[in-house]
Amino acid sequence: MTQIDPLERGIVLRVAGPLITARLPGAVMGSQAAVGRDGIVGEIIRLDDEVATFQMYETTELVRPGDPVTSSGQLLSVELGPGLLGQVFDGIQRPLKAIREETGVRIRRGMLLPALGRERQWPFVPGLDVGTRISGGEILGTIQETELLEHRVLVPPDLDGELIDIVPPGDYTVDSVVARVRRNGTVHPLHLFHRWPVRLERPSGERYLPHVPLITGQRVLDMLFPLAKGGAAAVPGPFGAGKTIVQHQVARWCDAQVIVFVGCGERGNEMVDLLEQFEALTDPHTSRPLLERSVLIANTSNMPVTAREASIYTGITVSEYFRDQGYHVALIVDSTSRWAEALREVAGRLEELPAEEGYPAYLGSQLAAFYERAGHVRTLGGDDGSVTAIGSVSPPGGDFSEPVTRHSESVVGTFWALSKPLADARHYPAIDWEDSFSGYAERISEWWEEEFREHWSAARASMLRLLQESSHESQLLEHWSALPRGALGLLREADELKRIASIIGPAALSDRQRWTYFVAGLVKEGFLQQNALDPVDTFCSPEKQMLLGALIIGAYHRGQQLIARGVPCAALLKLSSLRRLKSARTAVPNDRPDLLERLREDLDQQLTEAADAHASVHADQ
């Protein structure tokens, strides 16, 4: 949030809810304004000759016609620099922890504190020499902001020229002038921070097609419906389907370097829960709290609805800023439906014609424009960075045909649809395999095989050994994506079998079908379900995911082979190693792949014994 140096002055004409009209000659569309004696903050959303309409980010109680209005002519902007990490901001980047110190437990309006504290000194190490020609987005120097993250101080994207001055290494406050740049004869001072308008995408170099998976440690997400770094995902679900837990798990465990979490119109207690988790949980490599790599934006449901509308833009601008430093950022917005409702509320008060369910006609295009700001890019400074956007959707009545869900579905690459029936059956995470999709699975396949060549070949070998080198099946294993494809195929077949069985009775199923149904159950209980509260199961390493998946799919194919040779399904269901396979997700720690290998050996042996037993009975007859 930027403080306002008044350029234009005017007076209030009319107040109705969060909308204020004022006579303000020379006003700039989209610029910030301060209204009334308290100086409450707003943004100009309509200009009509000399009359400006503001959407106010704070309550307008007791604002009167005749009250003063000032505007800086500056667009609604955020401050970008050291001091963002570990902070909690509201929708327009007001620092909630600092406000807590100032005003107590409640948010009094008109509190204009700078987003980045002005007192704190940062150890700045310059990275460029005087005389260098510099361009926007280049790294001016670095600050070890937290143990988890080096802050790279950037030249503002819209500035270039000759560096005529830079300070020596030392401690500086964010607003100190640390360098000066001459462009066309004008000298521009550079600080440790700069401002950027939230509704304007920050520029970058080339955009890559997303091809690196965002590993979340959640099996159903990583294996079945993967998300790529720089991609976009929507998570729709009715209340009680576990949206919050899925988003918190991704925020806790995903392999992004920076997490920006926007609580947009959601519960206050959830933000506290997340904050406490981030303080308590540590990064496995450095043992530092996860909060040191996180920025929280909390505009809870009881805070002003207009600031909620702005909050997602504040979130994505902060995300782009870390992307521009060469980091991989995960932006999580909970919930985009509340953002859409804020949009609807303002549109309604402006008396715009509604399209569907009262939403303005531009809902779809605004949502698309937001998700388009996600991406994997070459930064202006020449590094590799990405913003992955994950937005939850709260469809009224759980009806996925409503506008926000439908528009989201058409613009995102990954769709994690949460199902109430699965949640009611305590199948968590309740990701529905029928409605969910991922458009990134093919492109990230290569990355898996490259990065985990060793483990991938182990997983393949494990499967192949179970399959006993059956040539037909082994072709399925040429690519990583064979695993998720196999699991999905199995689940869909089992759903079909269930429908059949419910009509004509389970007795009508063949042994082969029964085995399919059984293994699908194993996939659900032993692989897809994941217990966020279990210390082992809460995070599943990619290696364990692959090996576990390979074991189950391998067992499935081997079982089918045996059944085809006449081994009864009932004989297979008795195998104790299958029960162990079911509980391996909680029983086998991430760093003990050898236990899975042992399980594979036992399974292999038991399957062989079952086959031999059958053969000998057969021979006796």
Partner: protein, 466 residues
């Protein structure tokens, strides 16, 4: 306070008065409307400009005339005096005494709408509240500072459940003074009387404060009632360190009132005629529950939501479910089979349960036992559905056991006398004893250790029986 009285320039329409020529009036400013000897009415400004002011009148404009009515603006938003003296009293929706007693005196005025709690100043709710009701304590635990609505239907005994909670609720940890704020919205005199008498009979009325907007009271004041109640609750909880339990009944009536007023203002409707800001409006009420750092008290909120036509996807329960931390769902089916209180545990949920139970709060086996009972009951219900198609006789042996379990679970665990108070330990014991109906191999959600510690019969003995 402005001494100017505006008269003769007033236009009336529905609940609105337009005051032409009034200037310099604040948005949301409180207004007093007088008309001869009639009682003073209260209003607030909905829109203000340099030519006219629109005032919404809580009691409506019926009976007012251009000649007699006068409007005075008070220079402050709608508010009320807060103090401990609110306890033991009955008020209307705007916080004015309706028990014939004197007005509340004091210099501390707080706005009805409240001021949002800074999210970073919240304290995460963790302390288990024992209600003495098994279906809540064991499977949908309530914690101090939680907002947990009751989803009910017309004719279901939610009143009985509420009064049992009010009577039995207690903390297992050290006790602090408690208070109850009871807010009635659009309910009948009979229903309000039920609670009033219940409080009186229990002898707890001096710890209760009632805010009543009954079915025949002005609709506008219905919107103020929960806000007045919560303003009182916030003062008691965060200034006087009380643990406050707030009952809001019935939020469906509240939303209907909101819709009525929005429609009268020609606002664009969203779903089922409700205004697009219904979510924000409900959140403004529900989010006032909670705990804050450095204050001893808490606000635990139990709103009652009657599902229109039993439809859980109706906007009021739907949006409520998105804001609150779970829900207790009453079932018509259970009720018709004589199970009282008819808490259907399958769609019920307490989101804060995970942090409020376990060794430091209740017992180490609580979470697993709850999971196991839930899973077994869900399986029993599934088999009961199946049995209606294929017939009970054709069920497999273990399926019959599940069926038996589901029946016993409803009869012995869910059903509970209105004065039967079960401690959480008794509920845990009851849960374990019900699990004995099932083969031990079926108990996959509890550990071997827990079975041998808390299950009454060790595994071998049971297998021997089977």
């Amino acid at each position: 306070m402005s001494e100017i009285e505006w008269r003769n320039t007033l236009d009336f329409g529905g609940n609105l008065i337009t005051v032409r020529g009034a200037r310099g009036i604040g948005f949301d400013e409180q207004a007093e409307i007088t008309a001869g000897d009639a009682a003073t009415r209260l209003g607030q400004t909905l829109a203000t400009s340099d030519t006219e002011v629109v005032v919404q009148v809580f009691e409506g404009t019926r009976g007012l005339t251009r000649e007699s009515a006068a409007v005075r603006f008070l220079g402050r938003v709608p508010d009320m005096v807060v103090s401990e003296a609110l306890l033991g009293r009955v008020f209307d929706g705007l916080g004015r005494p309706r028990d014939g007693g004197p007005p509340i005196l004091g210099h501390r005025r707080e706005p009805l709408r409240g001021v949002p709690i800074n999210p970073v100043a919240r304290e995460y709710p963790r302390e288990f509240i024992q209600t003495g009701i098994s279906s809540i304590d064991l499977l949908n635990s309530l914690v101090r500072g939680q907002k947990l609505p009751i989803f009910t239907g017309s004719g279901l005994p939610h009143q009985r459940l509420l009064s049992q909670i009010l009577r039995q609720a207690r903390l297992l940890e050290a006790s602090a003074p408690f208070a109850v704020i009871f807010v009635a919205m659009g309910i009948s005199h009979t229903d309000a009387r039920f609670f009033h008498d219940a409080f009186r009979d229990e002898g707890v009325m001096e710890r209760v404060s009632m805010f009543l907007n009954l079915a025949d009271d002005p609709t506008m004041a219905c919107l103020a009632a929960p806000r007045a109640g919560l303003t009182a609750a916030e003062h008691l909880a965060f200034e006087q360190d009380y643990h406050v339990l707030v009952i809001l009944t019935d939020m469906t009536n509240y939303a209907t009132a909101l819709r009525e007023i929005a429609t009268a203002r020609d606002e664009v409707p969203a779903r089922k005629g409700y205004p697009g800001y219904l979510y924000s409006d409900l959140a403004e009420i529900y989010e006032r529950a909670g705990r804050v750092q450095g204050r001893g008290g808490s606000i635990t909120l139990i709103p009652v939501v009657t599902l229109p036509n039993g439809d859980i996807t109706h906007p009021v329960p739907d949006l409520t479910g998105y804001i609150t931390e779970g829900q207790l769902v009453l079932s018509r089916d259970l009720h018709s089979r004589g199970v009282v209180p008819p808490v259907d545990v399958l769609p019920s949920l307490s989101r804060l349960m995970k942090d409020g139970i376990g060794p430091t709060h209740t017992r180490d086996d609580h979470a697993n036992l709850a999971n196991q009972l839930y899973a077994a009951y869900a399986e029993g219900r599934r088999i009961r559905d199946l049995a209606t198609v294929v017939g009970e006789a054709d069920l497999a042996g273990v399926d019959k056991l599940y069926l038996k379990f589901a029946d016993a679970f409803e009869e012995r665990f869910i059903a509970q006398g209105s004065s039967e108070e079960r401690s959480v330990l008794q509920s845990l014991e009851l849960g374990w004893s019900l699990l004995e109906l099932l083969p031990v191999d079926e108990l996959s959600r509890v550990t071997e250790e827990q079975i041998s510690t808390y299950g009454r019969r060790p595994r071998q003995e049971q297998e021997h029986d089977g």
